[in-house]
């Protein structure tokens, strides 16, 4: 959306970059004396390393402020309460790396949850419902994917539209009804751990999916293609990458995964209502950006996403235990987001500030005007 960084890079003044990795070579290539601070900072900080440190800091903070934080029961709760967000963050990561965005994830979850509740109330067998939910997720993703790739619309606008459409369909299906008579066989998925472990089902699913998405993204030709189309769609097209097909697939996978998250969410709360997980898309996007995935596409990693999930969930949980107003934890999420865009940009910002200060001495002008000469 915001082109400034790229144009800045073209001038060669600073690697005014996007989060993870990749800046090391540029820093090494530029003269060391001119950029003391930056050169010292950049090779040491891979985004993921910073995230891991933050995660450790949160665990220490949580342990110090509450005796309950470092208990297995608490870790279980932490996992249960953020499983679905974490799961939805995985396909979102791939979509953002490919240069698109999917804001309809939580609405797809809601539509799936409403469908599950509705069909169950009509006495459908659960297995048949699962098939329907899978199909629903695929169709939801396909609509997004085709509108983006075949009609050629910006994914931001398309998925704001389908956000309304899918959430609206959930509302049409269930209206003001609440369905909650789900059988214990399924609702225990939400509250019991996987047998012989202390891991909630949703976290186990997240781990399995994270491995699969990680392998696809980092170790297959398709994964490299996703980075390529995010970095430069045209170059990717000319290189023979099937940009449209892969992007459509990514949206379909996202729809499918979110539909599954809808079933998990419904069973965890034993409740199907039309506004399940409403507004959660922004949390998912926040996690992905916190993970160091560039909003412009082309950069990011699954390791980063896993760490960002830990930071996000750990922080919410630690704040919850310190009696901080639970609903206001968004302040911390927002602050983390700002940190995640400003820290990687800090060297470029300092650079610009210094040049501004130098230019200021002979002639003074308004700060904003001068900053954007």
């Amino acid at each position: 959306m915001e082109p400034d960084q790229n144009t800045r890079n073209a001038e060669g003044t600073a690697p005014g970059g996007t989060p993870p990795g990749s800046t090391g070579a540029q820093a090494a290539a530029s003269p060391r004396r001119a950029i003391g601070f930056r050169a010292a900072l950049q090779p040491a900080i891979r985004w993921e390393t910073g995230l891991a440190l933050v995660a450790v800091a949160i665990v220490v903070f949580g342990g110090l402020t509450s005796s309950q934080f470092l208990t297995s029961g608490n870790f279980f709760n932490l996992g249960v309460s953020s499983g679905e967000i974490a799961i939805m963050a995985l396909p979102m990561t791939l979509i953002v790396i490919s240069g698109e965005i999917d804001l309809s994830v939580a609405a797809t979850l809601g539509m799936s949850s409403a469908t599950l509740g509705f069909l169950w109330s009509k006495h459908w067998p659960m297995l048949a419902i699962f098939v329907i939910l899978a199909a629903l997720g695929v169709v939801a993703g396909l609509i997004n994917g085709l509108l983006v790739t075949r009609v050629g619309l910006p994914s931001l606008a398309v998925t704001i539209g389908t956000l309304g459409l899918y959430r609206g369909i959930a509302q049409i299906i269930l209206g003001a009804n609440t369905i909650s008579n789900f059988p214990a066989t399924y609702t225990t998925i939400g509250v019991n751990p996987v047998p012989h472990t202390n891991i909630p089902y949703s976290v186990a699913i997240f781990i399995v999916l994270a491995v699969i998405f990680g392998v696809v993204l980092h170790a297959t030709a398709t994964g490299r293609s996703i980075y390529a189309m995010g970095a430069s769609p045209e170059a990717a097209l000319f290189a023979g990458i099937r940009v449209k097909r892969i992007k459509t697939m990514l949206f379909v996978v996202s729809g499918l995964v979110c539909s599954m998250a809808g079933a998990l969410w419904t069973f965890r709360l034993s409740t199907a209502v039309w506004n399940n997980a409403i507004g959660l898309e922004l949390s998912v996007v926040a996690i992905v950006l916190l993970a160091g995935v560039s909003i412009f596409g082309g950069k990011g990693s699954i390791v980063g996403v896993v760490l960002a999930v830990i930071v996000f969930a750990g922080l919410q949980n630690a704040l919850l235990l310190t009696n901080f107003n639970q609903e206001a934890t968004g302040i911390v999420t927002g602050a983390l987001l700002l940190v995640s865009v400003f820290v990687p940009n800090a060297p470029a910002l300092l650079d610009r500030a210094r040049r501004l200060a130098i230019r200021r001495q002979p002639a003074s002008g308004s700060a904003i005007g001068a900053a954007n000469d």
Partner: protein, 350 residues
């Protein structure tokens, strides 16, 4: 898109210039006339089924429901036209609504204009914060305003706690604001229409307004052309914040019960209205009037469903569907236009 095309006139041949201008003019008219036509057809069909739809009470209802969204859409248009986005408007509205009207309870007898100024001040501060981070920090506005959406809502929740402002603490003159009307048309709707008209005129006819379109069409070219990109973008965010602050006070006057959830999710509705109204989500084209009509159309649809006895549960799905149809149609038209222009210019060349 069409703004970019207008600049592609071939100066060497006057006939090509005239014909291509006619073409672009026709299409630029379509941008708004399309949605106006949809609105008229929609109103006509609904009214023919249920005449109650166009009686005075219902028109008043629709107009006063539109005011807040249309006002927010004006600020959002300025931001979106410059190829940015402001996701924080709903949170700013909520914070402003509570903090400003809470003054009535704290210091009874406070003049109403002071409360509006307080709301404006809160909105401006939020807008300035967004603008500084986007313009000087050079970070994507989607990320910055997503973060401030959370932060401002969090601050709101901390300030509000479990409290709420209730109608009893609000003075009668304040509550009367959205209800006053002239010849059946809400006074407020007229004022806001005038404000939007002024905003649209500024964007269309003032240099700094035009520069927002230039920035949205091609930020790099705008910078090279000497446009103070950062300054203009900063202004757009500041205005959007200030408008959201004012809208918060109006929202409070309209709904009268203000807790920490006021305005939640408004950002997406406002962006829908803007995009349905023909503003390109990647900047460079669209008008504030279109955006306001977009907001009016969404409010009209929701009211029509109500009047026709269709469950309000259909609102959201229809609004979402309409947004998809609007952007798809816009895309098809611009593809057709592009092809037509290319054919013309190649025809002239030979």
């Amino acid at each position: 898109m069409s703004a970019a095309l207008t600049e592609r006139r071939d100066p060497s041949s006057p006939s090509a210039r005239a014909s291509s201008r006619k073409l672009t003019e026709r299409v630029s008219r379509i941008r708004e006339s399309g949605i106006i036509a949809v609105l008229i057809v929609f109103v006509a069909v609904t009214a023919s089924i249920q005449p109650r739809f166009i009686d005075q009470a219902n028109i008043q209802f629709v107009l006063s429901n539109t005011t807040v969204y249309a006002l927010l859409a004006l600020g959002e248009t300025m931001v979106v036209v410059s190829r940015n986005v402001d996701l924080s408007v709903g949170s700013v509205l909520g914070l402003s609504a509570y903090v400003s009207t809470n003054l009535f309870g704290h210091s009874p007898g406070i003049p109403v204009p002071v409360v509006f100024l307080a709301g404006l001040g809160i909105g401006l501060s939020c807008g300035i914060a967004n603008g500084l981070m986007v313009a000087i920090g050079r970070v994507p506005s989607l990320v910055v305003t997503l973060a401030t959406l959370y932060i401002i809502r969090g601050i709101d929740i901390l300030i509000v706690g479990g409290n709420e402002v209730v109608a009893q603490t609000l003075p009668a003159s304040f509550i009367a604001i959205p209800r006053a009307n002239v010849l059946g048309v809400p006074y407020l709707a007229i004022v806001i229409a005038a404000v939007i008209g002024a905003g649209a005129y500024y964007l269309r006819s003032y240099r700094s307004g035009r520069e927002l379109y230039a920035i949205g069409s091609n930020p790099e070219a705008a910078r090279l052309a000497g446009i103070p990109v950062g300054k203009r973008v900063f202004t757009a965010f500041t205005v959007s914040g200030g408008i959201a602050g004012l809208a918060g006070v109006l929202w409070a006057a309209q709904y009268q019960t203000i807790d920490s959830t006021a305005g939640t999710g408004y950002e997406l509705t406002v962006i829908s209205a803007v995009v349905v109204g023909g503003v390109a989500i990647f900047g460079g084209s669209g008008s504030a009037v279109g955006a306001a009509i977009g907001a009016l159309l969404l409010a009209t649809i929701s009211s029509a469903l109500n009047v026709l006895g269709i469950s309000p549960f259909w609102d959201l799905a229809i609004a979402g569907f309409l947004l998809l149809v609007a952007i798809s149609l816009d895309r098809l038209i611009s593809v057709k236009l592009m092809a037509a222009l290319r054919q013309r210019s190649s025809g002239v060349g030979t």
